[in-house]
Amino acid sequence: MTGSVTSDAGFEGSEEFRGTGSYLTNPSLEAAVRCALVLKKPLLVRGEPGTGKTLLAEAIAEAEGLDLITWNVKSTTRAQDGLYHYDTVQRLYDSRFGDRNVSDIRDYIHMGPVGRAFQSNERVVLLIDEVDKADIEFPNDLLHELDRMRFTVAETGDVVAAEHRPIVVITSNAEKELPDAFLRRCIFHFIDFPDRELMRRIVEVHHRGLDDRLLDQALEVFYRIRGLERLRKKPSTSELVDWISMLLARRETTVELSPELADLGTLLKKEQDLEVFADYASGRSTRPRIR
């Protein structure tokens, strides 16, 4: 993938993204990031838990040498929270007890993450983390602001507009559906579940000096279990790491797939999944899908 990229879009920075020292990337991800940067659209990153969605925003910020502003979305988060917050209570309090001048509402308007990203004097990376956690209409409520990169503070009539368009990275678990109108405006990237090689390196970060043979066997078992199609909740990276911790604590030197697999509960957390596994391990079930 060489070749020069010409940009006549008045683009402000580098549109090359090649990952950073600690963040490994691939052509697919690079292309998605480049599209998002050049076309100035938000980058929507989806993938299973533990695939490094959040780290991607940090990596982009690091690679571009920009500050990162993170907005962690929770189930109670409203779109308004990201823009600004008018602290009425503080103003009420100050009007009674404080010696501050309360006549200027602006003193009590606090910018949220989106507001701060718009106001910043230089370009920043804005990470909207786990957008699917919030209310089902939440992404729609942000459409306008992310499109226009501006919003109005209702209390003062001030317009907050981004002088330097932030790079917006949005992450979502693959669990909830996002509205179409929102999806249409984003560049989409799906982070694959790590393959065996990558997983080996990830595990080695957590368990240094792990016996190669045990790791091989553990990975074999892990990917076979993940391959079971009927699982409701597939084990992910963190489950694998926990499971290997348990194996080490028991001083196991070998492990193989069997109906009496030790510490299965660290890998499979749902009762139905344990049944599926029992069926499979005792040879009663459909064949697994090997990736």
Binding site: L92, R96, C186, H189
Partner: protein, 401 residues
């Protein structure tokens, strides 16, 4: 090539429209594909696809479009290379860089849009002609007009490295097959409809500041701060869902699982109970779809007050005698109650109830459906019908404070 690829995607039910096409065109005009097929693969995927459920279809379409284009000593065919090279010029004329933050179609005026559509159609026509020629021009049948027809070279050679190979290889692996989830696509519509059942009540510890009450109290107190707190608002909707899993419901199993996922995900219900029945409700419903763990309707009505909203889902289609078939009233009382009477008992007990029917509405007349609809209000199980039913279920029920 560009357009036939897009239409291929559409044929595979991937929702790509003018908006996506323009985004991709804009990306190509910026040279983001770096004049390689690999680059095109990743760029197109990032701009055209919005859901991992469509990635597999994308790979399929990509393969169908580009596999079999032979590599000559590791190079792409001249034609394809030229097309990739020219993509920047071709789309460059429509430079959307000034204001591409919004949906492209929004700022194209009608004429431009018409022009764009015309171009699309023109190119489609062009494409058809080539197909009519009898040679599957991008296929690997060996008679491609591009002259790379040696059978030995078909498929993807892995001997030398060249442009486009990696992309085809990736597409060929059909890596995303596992993520196809045709079921999931409409769950959102159900979720939105179910949200109409929201109702909230304030209860629990008083830990939320009531600003307007505080201001009122402070003003009444001659400006001396008087803080008023209130309990936080919590969801207060109680729902009972009864699902028919009888044999005649089999064609609707996908629809059922969508509805089921949507209700399970709904976080705005204080209590959601799901029960199953077979064809018609007689005396008991079951907690599992395998008809184990029965619960008597009478016990259910004792546990759940009339404020529960009852939603029955079923095709209401059965042999007429099933309506009049009778069963025991309860475990201890053996007086006989017919199927239709059970429905009346239920709709009498629960203030708000609705029956959702996946059977198309034009087939309702003249069958048991009509009789059941008289006992319980019936709505078609479409997004509209569901919305209507939810609105009705919520009527007259205001959150108590």
């Amino acid at each position: 090539m560009f357009n036939s690829f897009l239409y291929r995607l559409r044929d595979l039910d991937v929702p790509v429209g003018v908006g996506e096409a323009l985004t991709l065109a804009s990306a190509l005009s910026h040279g983001l594909h770096e004049q390689t097929l690999d680059g095109f693969y990743y760029t197109a995927r990032a701009t055209l696809i919005h859901h991992e459920g469509h990635l597999d279809a994308f790979d399929q379409a990509f393969l169908a479009e580009f596999k079999g284009i032979e590599f000559d000593a590791g190079d792409l065919t001249e034609e394809l290379q030229k097309w990739l090279d020219d993509a920047a010029d071709e789309f460059g004329e429509r430079d959307c860089a000034d204001d591409d933050s919004q949906d492209f179609t929004e700022f194209l005026n009608d004429e431009e849009l018409a022009e764009l559509r015309r171009k699309f159609e023109e190119r489609m026509a062009e494409q058809t002609e080539r197909h009519d020629g009898g040679n599957y021009w991008i296929g690997s049948q060996g008679t491609s007009q591009f002259g790379h027809s040696g059978k030995a070279k078909q498929g993807i050679s892995t001997k030398s490295s060249g442009g486009g190979r990696a992309a085809l290889h990736a597409a060929d692996a059909r890596h995303y097959r596992g993520y196809r989830s045709d079921v999931a696509l409409d769950i959102r519509q159900f979720e939105v409809a179910l949200r109409r059942l929201r109702a909230f009540v304030r209860e629990g510890a008083e830990d939320e500041l009531d600003i307007s009450a505080t201001i009122d109290a402070t003003a009444a107190n001659a400006g001396d701060i008087e803080i008023v707190v209130r309990p936080p608002s919590k969801p207060n909707t109680h729902v009972i869902l009864m699902i028919d899993v009888g044999g005649s419901m089999f064609p609707y199993s996908q629809l059922m699982s969508q509805l089921f996922s949507a209700t399970k995900k709904a976080t705005h219900f204080k209590d959601l109970r799901t029960y199953y029945f077979h064809n018609m409700i007689y005396g008991k419903v079951y907690e599992t779809d395998r008809f184990s763990e029965p619960i008597w309707i009478h016990d259910l009505m004792r546990q759940c007050g009339s404020h529960y909203k009852l939603i029955i889902v079923g095709d209401a289609y059965m042999a007429p005698y099933e309506l009049w078939h009778s069963s025991a009233l309860s475990a201890s009382d053996d007086s006989r109650v017919t199927g239709i009477e059970w429905l009346q008992i239920l709709s009498h007990h629960f203030r708000q109830s609705a029956w959702l029917n996946p059977e198309p509405q034009n087939r309702w007349r003249g069958s048991t459906i009509e009789q059941i609809a008289e006992a319980i209000e019936m709505y078609p199980m479409t997004v509209d019908g569901l919305t209507e039913a939810m609105t009705k279920l919520n009527r007259g029920s205001t959150a108590r404070r």
